[in-house]
């Protein structure tokens, strides 16, 4: 009995404290990997998000209050991401959640967001299955592998004149998803599959995989990998003397990737939702602000964090309060002008309307080869 009373008192105390907090600021919770093998990309998302918050607060915030970003480390792991979300919801009382980086982690926090009835926006997780779960609280302000594959398969098959392609991906849902989607769309255009192989996160030696690849003699090599794994893989491709055309998805068009990879990066293609060299006024302003703050041009993930936060803040402003249901409805009405086009959401919460680009790395800078709008999935 005593325990029950204490529990009630605690709950009442927390409930009483919450509105007091809420009056000071509008809290947005951000779950990204800050340690572990994709920490580096997670940090870029946080940088983009912080820049967005800074700009929003400079213009007076939303609902007349400053926006406060509460950042937690989800480590790209489902269990840690769930813990982070529990903490953000229970302790920090955030109005909206943004995250988590890896699709597997996002899949784990989606039911938690639904349980607490808090809108969840991801700017990164690209596994197509996420928006198929009919979770009304989930919005994806990012491309999926399927949409990227659809946008670029024809350009790749025709312009690069590929007859056979070897597929290499990191051994997780994102890597496997990317390989499956691209191989399906390219096969439909008559491109043969020479080989399909996966490797684990944090692999350092790819010589065995590349030996198989060399024996398969493909025209093109498709790679789904992030900066760390991807840069080592591309370097070793050159060390093995492989001449095939390389194209990939992941954060390939960034300054860091090119710096780490060196000469070996020359001539590779990357299909990315964002690249800093796109020429339009909105993007130039964003690049200038980002470079001014972080001394480096924004990459795919910096832009993802920036866009996700802006979409969220604008939805809160349109909702006119921090009521979760109102924010959810406002999110569904999103029409956000991003540096890379216009974001809208389908009924399932999948973003469309923004531009994706195919770049080729030449002279250590990504040059835009082709650009295609990401269309709403059928």
């Amino acid at each position: 009995m005593y325990r029950y009373v204490l529990g009630c008192a605690l709950a009442a105390g927390v409930a009483a404290a919450a509105p007091a907090n809420a009056q000071d600021s509008v809290k947005i919770g951000l779950v990204e990997p800050l340690t572990g093998s994709v920490a580096y990309n997670g940090k870029s998302v946080v940088e983009g998000a912080k820049l967005a918050v800074e700009q929003i607060n400079a213009k007076g915030g939303v609902l007349g209050k400053p926006v406060e970003l509460v950042i937690e480390d989800g480590q790209c792991a489902p269990a840690n991401s769930v813990n982070a979300v529990e903490k953000l919801v229970q302790k920090d009382k955030v109005a909206v959640l943004v995250g988590a980086f890896c699709s597997s982690a996002t899949a784990a926090i989606m039911p938690v967001a639904q349980k607490y009835k808090i809108p969840l926006v991801t700017g990164v997780s690209s596994s197509a299955a996420l928006t198929e779960q009919n979770n009304p609280w989930f919005f994806r302000a990012a491309e999926t592998d399927a949409l990227m594959a659809k946008a670029f398969a024809k350009i790749l098959a025709n312009d690069l004149k590929l007859k056979s392609v070897a597929y290499v991906g990191v051994n997780d849902d994102w890597g496997r998803g990317g390989v499956e989607e691209f191989s399906r769309d390219l096969s439909a255009l008559g491109v043969k599959t020479a080989m399909t192989e996966y490797f684990d996160h944090g692999t350092t030696d790819f010589f065995t995989l590349l030996t198989k690849l060399r024996a398969a003699k493909p025209d093109g090599i498709f790679v789904a990998a992030e900066t760390q794994d991807g840069s080592i893989l591309v370097k070793q491709l050159q060390e093995m003397g492989l001449q095939s055309k390389v194209f990939g998805v992941g954060s390939w068009a960034t300054a860091d990737f090119i710096n780490l990879t060196g000469d070996a990066a020359e001539g590779i293609y990357a299909a990315v939702p964002y690249v800093s060299s796109v020429e339009n006024p909105a993007n130039q302003d964003f690049v200038k602000a980002y470079e001014g703050k972080y001394k480096v041009k924004p990459g795919k993930y910096g832009a993802a964090g920036y866009n996700a936060l802006n979409i969220t803040a604008q939805a809160i402003a349109r909702a006119g309060g921090t009521d979760a249901e109102a924010i959810r409805k406002a999110l569904a009405q999103t029409d956000y002008k991003a540096p890379n086009g216009n974001y809208r959401f389908t009924a399932k919460g999948q973003a469309y309307g923004f531009d994706a680009v195919l770049v080729r790395i030449e002279g250590a800078t990504p040059k835009v080869v082709a650009s295609a709008p990401v269309e709403a999935p059928q």
Partner: protein, 290 residues
């Protein structure tokens, strides 16, 4: 057949690298009986310090390697005198907890200091492929193998040919008797730990120049090194070499003929097999102690 030769060559190269990265562990875990969970972090620090001295101090690769050895040797000495010494002789558990704590501390300090991004360590020579018949290998890999083998022999010589080495072996066989015979065992413990730490760090810098240095690599390195040490036998240098080569070749063949996506499974299969069939490892110098 050509394919097989290339797989074998890949496996042997990676095997030498595994042996090299496990050397520090085989000393500290095998001889000192300290289950060192911070081993991977010593390796990681070697790469990160190597990046720092070649990038910011402008040293070339080999001077950098010497400086890394000095810095990490002193660091290892300090860790033993200020931390490990406090839990010595209290069984293995306090040492395990201490080194787990140390590894978390080192990773996070490194994240704080240099961030999570991969770091590029200057290379010793310009890189380029070498073709030996059907087999491709690179210059830097060959050089790293040569340095690796040299380090293995040097460490073996220190333990078996020098006065310090005799003192080490005496101390680890029977600390009480060694101390009665006039050996300053505290110094010997610290020297062994410093040597183990230096070897881990040197392999870390060597391999970082081929791959890249990064704050979060430690966990995987520790795991593979434990596999190598268990396969080869505790504290045995020939064992570390045999264990490393066995693991490297097994992974290369498994990756080559089965699937690269499940390559980490093979190391642990081997460990289970060895523990069932020959629990003391392939080579073992473990003497029964009083």
């Amino acid at each position: 057949m050509d394919l097989f030769l290339q797989f074998l060559a890949n496996g042997l190269v990676v095997g030498v690298f595994y042996a090299l990265s496990a050397l520090g562990l085989t000393l500290i875990f095998g001889l000192m009986r300290v289950v060192n969970f911070a081993h991977g972090e010593f390796y990681m620090l070697g790469g990160v310090v190597g990046w720092f001295v070649t990038t910011y101090l402008g040293l070339d690769f080999f001077s950098g390697l010497v400086l890394v050895a000095l810095v990490m040797g002193s660091f290892g000495w300090a860790v033993d005198r200020f931390l490990i010494e406090r839990v010595r002789g209290q069984g293995e558990e306090p040492g395990i907890l201490l080194t787990i704590g140390l590894s978390i501390f080192l990773v996070n300090i490194t994240l704080l200091a240099v961030g999570p991004a991969p770091l590029k360590v200057a290379r010793a020579i310009t890189e380029g492929p070498i073709f030996l018949g059907p087999v491709t290998i690179t210059k830097m890999r060959l050089l790293a193998m040569v340095i690796g083998v040299a380090l293995i022999f040097a460490a073996h010589a220190i333990i078996h040919r020098t006065r310090l080495g005799s003192a080490m072996r005496a101390t680890f066989q029977d600390p009480m008797a060694a101390s009665l015979a006039g050996i300053r065992t505290k110094q010997v413990y610290a020297a062994t730990f410093a040597l183990g730490c230096t070897l881990s760090a040197l392999s870390g810098m060597l391999l970082a120049s081929i791959y890249s240095a990064q704050a979060s690599v430690g966990g995987l390195v520790s795991l593979k090194s434990f596999v190598v040490v268990i396969l080869g036998g505790m504290g045995s240098f020939p064992g570390a070499i045999a264990g490393g080569l066995l693991l490297g070749v097994a992974e290369a063949l498994w990756g080559g003929y089965v699937a690269t996506g499940m390559v980490d499974i093979i190391g642990f299969l081997l460990v289970i097999l060895i523990l069932v069939l020959r629990p003391q490892g392939l080579f073992s110098i473990r003497a029964e102690r009083a």
